[in-house]
């Protein structure tokens, strides 16, 4: 179980050698992964914004951001700085407290969900037993923030946008949870680490996509709907609702919504990578390669290489899915609200239920292939 490098163990060990108590050393260790994750998520957003603009431009035969830095990589930074320095406008009859709380409630759970994203055997902030369930629970807080923002803006577009967003969030949470449940059924654990471990036996062949193709598609569609990505972005459908619940927001509060939506997209992509694409495991298992090359699997440099490869793999898979989401954005037109709810309740939900039942049946019939 505890193979791979254990940075926390090493850190605590070395501090204990200096005569600091183990508990204190653990507390001293705690801020590092959190800060790293916070910075990582924010940088991920910047990369995501840049990618979105570049890929959108390529799809439409444009060039996209070009002048801010090489290939325009500094463009998102410039956007962010602009939002920071913009005036923070509070509409005259808005509810000031709820107006401020809304974006905070939207962003907080998304960042909190990064607690359970593993990048390697020990490269996770907390390996709690309810891992993936915690993510589903946290993502159900977001609609409250959206409702709050919609209500507090004192604007009919905002209110309708907020209500739509909340309705969409609640409806698509169910197929999402059901497809996650099928995965959990196969790996016998809610912990993200165990889910990845269970897929790591035979490289690309043991990934969950091959055993859960329907679940994969359902999960990805629901995740897109949860993130309000384009085929399902009708809470902020600009032709009807100006900008939905974000209409009255500007400056830093708008930036929070903006960051929240992109962090959520990256998070969903990471979740798909973890649940279905084998997380940090590479397509060809690294143990196999080291055996072929005749390297001792316990040697420290191999562990370092393995860990970096794991991080790179997770991020690569996630960004491949982000690319897919952007491509979908320019391919599929926006659905109507009734089409959205029909798709969620009458199509995805029954299929997700059937998928869960089939998975349970297959698990009973072939316990070796479907995690007995």
């Amino acid at each position: 179980m505890n193979s791979g490098i254990d940075l926390q163990g090493t850190f605590v060990q070395s501090l204990s050698d200096f005569g600091i108590s183990t508990e204190l050393a653990k507390i001293l260790w705690m801020p590092f992964p959190m800060l790293l994750m916070l910075i990582g998520a924010t940088v991920g957003v910047l990369v995501n914004v840049w990618l979105e603009r570049k890929i959108s431009a390529a799809v439409q035969q444009r060039i996209g951001p070009e002048f801010a830095g090489p290939l325009g990589v500094l463009q998102p930074v410039a956007d962010g700085l602009k939002l920071v320095f913009k005036e923070d406008i509070l509409p005259a009859k808005a509810d000031p407290f709820l107006f401020t709380m809304g974006p905070i409630l939207v962003v907080m759970p998304v960042f909190l969900s990064y607690l359970i994203v593993p990048f390697g055997q020990n490269l996770v902030i907390t390996n709690i037993n309810t891992g993936i369930f915690l993510w589903i629970a946290l993502s159900s807080i977001v609609p409250i923030g959206l409702l709050m923002a919609g209500y507090a803006s004192n604007n009919k577009y905002s209110l309708i946008g907020g209500l739509r967003a909340a309705a969409q969030s609640i409806s698509y949470e169910i197929p999402l949870a059901l497809s996650v449940l099928a995965i959990v059924l196969m790996s016998n654990s809610l912990s993200t680490i165990d889910i990845v471990e269970q897929q790591s036996g035979y490289g690309i062949l043991s990934w969950n996509v091959w055993r859960q193709p329907i679940g994969f598609v359902i999960f990805w569609i629901s995740a897109l709907a949860e993130c309000e990505r384009l085929p399902f972005d009708l809470p902020e459908a600009e032709e009807e609702l100006v900008a939905g619940y974000q209409t009255e927001y500007s400056g830093m509060k708008f930036a929070l919504f903006y960051v929240g939506s992109y962090v959520n997209l990256v998070l969903s992509a990471l979740m798909v990578a973890i649940l279905y694409l084998g997380g940090w495991s590479s397509p060809i298992p690294i143990e196999l390669l080291s055996n072929l090359a005749g390297v001792d699997p316990a040697s420290s440099w191999l562990q370092v290489v393995g860990a970096s490869l794991g991080i790179a793999m997770t991020i690569l898979k996630a960004y491949f899915l982000v690319f897919l989401a952007i491509l979908t954005r320019w391919t599929v037109p926006r659905v109507r609200i009734d089409q959205l709810l029909n798709l969620g309740w009458k199509f995805l939900l029954p299929i997700a239920l059937a998928n869960l039942l089939i998975t349970a049946a297959l698990k009973l019939a072939f316990p070796t292939a479907f995690g007995g």
Binding site: N129, I141, L163
Partner: protein, 195 residues
């Protein structure tokens, strides 16, 4: 164990203050939307206390069910109805409020007396690493009947909701049928078995 206990105590204090404050807010705010949002705060602080008691699954379920579904539903109801009604100040309204306060204070005194007097048996068993498996075992052995009954109840309410939502109103002769009860709309008769 010194630091861990201290952290636990401080967290418990913060969560309790949040919980009680939010609960008081739910009851005392005149604005119903504030009350509904604070109800979410109550549920979240309760989930925090569950985490403090090593019940991580229960706390996540608490957030998912109560914050994600129940509270959002309440908010939906409030925001969709959106009826603003100015109530006339009641004459001698303070009697009502005063008696409510007395009853609540009495109830609080009674409950606190009970909780202080009762010799609680504090479990010394070290907490389980994962509460998911024991909960599932209970669900499928000694709590099977309540579990299934709860699911049947939910199914019944779902069927009821679908029947309510699928009613076909007759909008064209709304004015003609004023003889009907004023609270019901004329409904199109529908055969129970689909075509």
């Amino acid at each position: 164990m010194q630091i861990a206990e201290g952290v636990q105590l401080v967290t418990f204090a913060i969560l309790s203050i949040l919980l009680v404050g939010a609960a008081l807010g739910v009851v005392l705010f005149a604005n119903i939307v504030y009350s509904a949002f604070l109800l979410g705060g109550v549920f979240i602080s309760m989930a925090g206390i569950y985490i403090l008691l090593n019940a991580d699954f229960v706390s996540a379920a608490q957030i998912l069910v109560y914050v994600g579904a129940v509270n959002v539903l309440i908010l939906f109801a409030i925001m969709l109805v959106n009826k603003r009604e100015d109530f006339k100040p009641l004459k001698n309204g303070w009697i009502r409020q005063g008696s409510t306060a007395v009853v609540c204070a009495g109830l609080f005194a009674l409950l606190s007396a009970v909780s202080i007097v009762t010799p609680w048996s504090i479990s010394t068993v070290s907490p389980l690493a994962s509460s998911v498996v024991p909960i599932a075992k209970h669900f499928f052995t000694d709590f099977l009947l309540p579990f299934e009954l709860a699911s049947i109840l939910l199914l019944m309410s779902m069927v009821g909701a679908i029947i309510l939502a699928r009613r076909d109103f007759l909008p064209d002769n709304l004015g003609a049928t004023s003889t009907q009860d004023s609270l019901t709309l004329p409904e199109r008769p529908r055969e129970l078995v689909g075509k």
